[in-house]
């Protein structure tokens, strides 16, 4: 079954720019000679290294782990020797301990990497255990450990799993390609999540600008009575999980609440595929699909890149930068991605894209006064009033922003995008959120 073009209130129509890479099949990136695998690329506790300098490691070998529940282990993406364990910059802006491994060029697979059995045989506990051991985290960017998300408190009954195939960020096509090329794995991953949390229903929501993805998944799920493919109107931020739940199920996640509060769990396409591979092949999360794109890149590509490969290596494989200087390098999409100050950072589990904007595109636009046109109010998917929030934040009146529900902001950036005066709305609102959260933590 397929419903046509559902959508939510607010949001913006952004130029997609997906034509650069949407038709390019995923290809394997070159084997990196050296990788730097961060021990902390997820929300939660950082991992302790399980290896020491001089150790030899194999592909898929666990090299870092934490005893904390909210954490995810990390695995080696190549075989070789541990050169150092040292703090390095990662694309999230943090400096964290990284295990630097030099490749021996053999790509030997670790003995722990073996099929885990069929879905019928595995219990829900076992599936969650496999996901945890495979180090799977939300690969849409937030990096929340998936096994935690799939272990809701017993009073929260989950009835529906929603797979987020919206990929509403402009430029990015990695999820799109996965849907087209690996639809069976995505359906398998969805069934695994459904079994893990005991949900009866599965939904895959896809923006209608990816008809071949819809077709591929319809075909792959034609024998699954409990799985529905839903076509969504391409609009940003369609892939925000609260929007997606609202559109596909008609449920409203309460302010400050989580999807589980309305009986739903949302999972990203890459994450779902990683879950499938963790069960079918026993493969931990040590590589991922990345879209390398933007007008600043010579040959945009969709690559399967090993975690720990430096942005620099990946960019070189795509022909390097176009004529002229790159203006901005972003991990993720242009609406919510993180701009980088160096390309000496590793690809991590949350790196869905590397976007290079030209100097011209990246040039800051001078801002003018707020003319109160109200466009930011119209587009806010959460019904906030960004003009006032931003004004209070810029004046340092963070308490006021709290009264105006600043913490409900999903930081989608739609307000800044539409603002004709080019005011830093989302940017300043983000500052207010951080200030309030920091203050709350301090008070505790």
């Amino acid at each position: 079954m397929k419903l046509k073009d559902l959508t939510f209130k607010g949001g913006v129509n952004v130029p997609h720019h997906k034509e650069l890479t949407e038709k390019l099949p995923l290809e394997r990136a070159m084997e990196p000679e050296i990788v730097a695998i961060p021990l902390h690329q997820h929300t939660g506790a950082p991992c302790e290294p399980l290896v020491k300098v001089g150790d030899t490691v194999k592909v898929g070998q666990k090299i870092g782990e934490s005893q904390a529940f909210v954490s995810a282990p990390v695995h080696s993406s190549i075989s070789g020797t541990v050169k150092s364990i040292t703090p390095m910059a990662i694309p999230t802006g943090l400096t964290v301990n990284c295990v630097v491994i030099e490749s021996d060029g053999k790509n030997e697979i670790h003995e722990s990497v073996k099929p885990k059995g069929s879905l019928e045989e595995l219990s829900s506990k076992e599936i969650i255990g496999i996901i945890k051991e495979a180090g799977i985290t939300g690969m849409g960017g937030a990096g929340f450990p998936t096994h935690v998300k799939l272990s809701p408190p017993s009073d929260k009954k989950i009835d529906t799993i929603i797979i987020n195939g919206a990929e509403c960020e402009p430029y990015l096509t990695a999820d799109h390609r996965l849907m087209v090329e690996e639809p069976k794995k995505i359906v398998f991953g969805l069934k695994a999540i459904m079994k893990a949390v005991g949900a009866e229903k599965g939904i895959i929501g896809i923006e209608s600008n990816k008809p071949n993805a819809i077709e591929a998944l319809m075909d792959a799920s034609k024998n699954e009575k409990n799985i529905t493919i839903i076509s969504l109107r391409p609009k940003y931020p369609q892939g925000d999980e609260k929007r997606l739940i609202n559109v596909t199920l008609g449920r409203i996640v309460p302010s400050g609440g989580l999807p589980m509060d309305v009986g739903a769990v949302v999972s990203n396409i890459s994450t779902t595929k990683a879950i499938a591979e963790a069960i079918i092949e026993g493969k931990p999360l040590y590589e991922r699909a990345v879209t390398i794109t933007g007008s600043g890149i010579k040959e945009p590509k969709n690559l399967i890149v090993k975690i720990g490969t430096s942005f620099k290596d990946v960019i070189e494989q795509c022909g390097g930068f176009n004529e002229g200087a790159p203006g901005k390098i972003i991990m993720g999409g242009p609406m919510m991605g993180l701009s980088q100050y160096t390309i000496e950072v590793p690809v991590i589990k949350g790196s869905g894209g590397i976007l290079v904007l030209t100097e011209e595109e990246a040039k800051p636009i001078p801002m003018g006064p707020c003319i109160r046109c109200g466009r930011c109010v119209d587009v806010c998917p959460v019904n906030l009033q960004p003009l006032y929030l931003s004004n209070y934040s810029l004046r340092g009146k963070f308490d006021k922003t709290e009264k105006f529900h600043v913490l409900d902001c999903v930081e989608c950036g739609s307000c800044s995008y539409v603002c004709p005066a080019k005011r830093p709305l989302a940017e300043s609102i983000r500052v207010a959120k951080r200030e309030i959260i920091a203050k709350r933590k301090k008070a505790k």
Binding site: S339, I371, S416
Partner: protein, 327 residues
């Protein structure tokens, strides 16, 4: 305003890193700009401006040009005096100039628009912080000021025929009866603008063409004008105005000009969707009350000005419910 971008810093170190711009997302912006919005409004006002010259002659053109020039001049001079960046390129002063001229009778002396724009730009707009910060529509405030200060100049309307020196507007005729010396014009003349009145307000047709353009370009929200005119219509009915006179009320006076071009002024109308509805309804009720029960034949400008003042309050009560908010 500072033209600095928040959180933007050029990274140091190596050559490439010197070039990379680091800033908070989003990293792309729409093509919208203040100037483009203002230009759209000017484009929308152009048919009515041309119409005013056609109906009222070269004096209309003279008033429009003086008004635009003085408006831009006062904006630049005030900003210079306040040591602020001069922002006449945003074109907002041009719009104020056009709107003030549109509110003048064709017989107005040349200095009247200069008085009007000085008041609108210096006092109403710049004293309160410039573009976006004015709590009243500058053009309407100027009209109210001119009407109070030079009532004769402001209400001596010439007809569209040059041989008629003074004639009454349709609203004045309805207010004071045909004793005022004139008959009500044909409705078709009212629609296309061939009637006595302020130079820019008489042609409903040309104003509506511009308004349609603004709505299609999403420069203005349809809610304020539609609820404003709709409420005026219903209120006039409730107040017992004869049905055959209703079209004269809607097409006559400044209702169309006010509803589409002045009540929709961003700075002085609510930003909340519900607030815009209430703003329109409020202005409609006031307009009908002033026209039927008040002393003046026309009530559009005072209605909008009163609603401008109520805007912060309206916004306070119409804050939209946040998604997922449980009250």
């Amino acid at each position: 305003m500072d033209s600095k971008v928040l959180n933007t810093s050029k990274a140091k170190d190596a050559a490439l890193e010197n070039m990379l711009l680091v800033s908070s997302s989003p990293h792309i912006r729409s093509n919208e700009s203040i100037q483009r919005i203002m230009l759209d409004v000017i484009i929308a006002l152009t048919p009515a401006a041309i119409g005013s010259v056609y109906f009222f002659g070269l004096n209309a053109l003279k008033l429009i040009l003086i008004s635009i020039a003085s408006s831009v001049f006062f904006e630049a001079v005030t900003q210079k005096a306040f040591k602020k960046p001069v922002t006449i390129n945003d074109l907002s002063a041009v719009i104020t100039g056009i709107l003030i001229a549109f509110n003048l009778p064709a017989s107005a002396p040349w200095w009247l628009p200069i008085m009007g724009t000085a008041f609108a730009i210096i006092i109403v707009k710049q004293f309160f912080g410039g573009l976006g910060s004015n709590f009243m529509n500058p053009a309407l405030a100027a009209r109210a000021m001119l009407l109070t200060s030079w009532p004769t100049h402001m209400s001596t309307f010439t007809g569209t025929r040059p041989d008629v020196v003074a004639s009454a507007t349709p609203l004045a005729i309805m207010k004071h009866g045909t004793a005022a010396g004139s008959e009500l014009p044909k409705l078709m003349d009212m629609f296309i603008g061939n009637i006595p009145g302020a130079i820019g307000e008489t042609s409903s047709l040309l104003l509506l063409i511009g308004a349609a353009y603004l709505i299609i370009r999403q420069v203005i929200d349809w809610k304020i004008p539609v609820f404003y005119i709709g409420t005026t219509f219903i209120m006039l009915l409730l107040l017992g105005v004869e049905t055959e006179l209703l079209p004269y009320h809607i097409l006559g006076g400044g209702l169309i000009l006010g509803a589409f071009y002045m009540a929709t002024d961003y700075a002085s109308s609510p930003v909340t969707p519900m607030g815009r509805v209430i703003f329109g309804i409020g202005a409609g009720i006031l307009t009908a009350l002033i026209r039927v029960k008040g002393g003046f034949p026309e009530g559009v400008s005072y209605s909008i000005l009163l609603m401008n003042i109520a805007t912060p309050l309206i916004e306070k009560f119409t804050t939209p419910k946040v998604f997922g908010e449980v009250k």
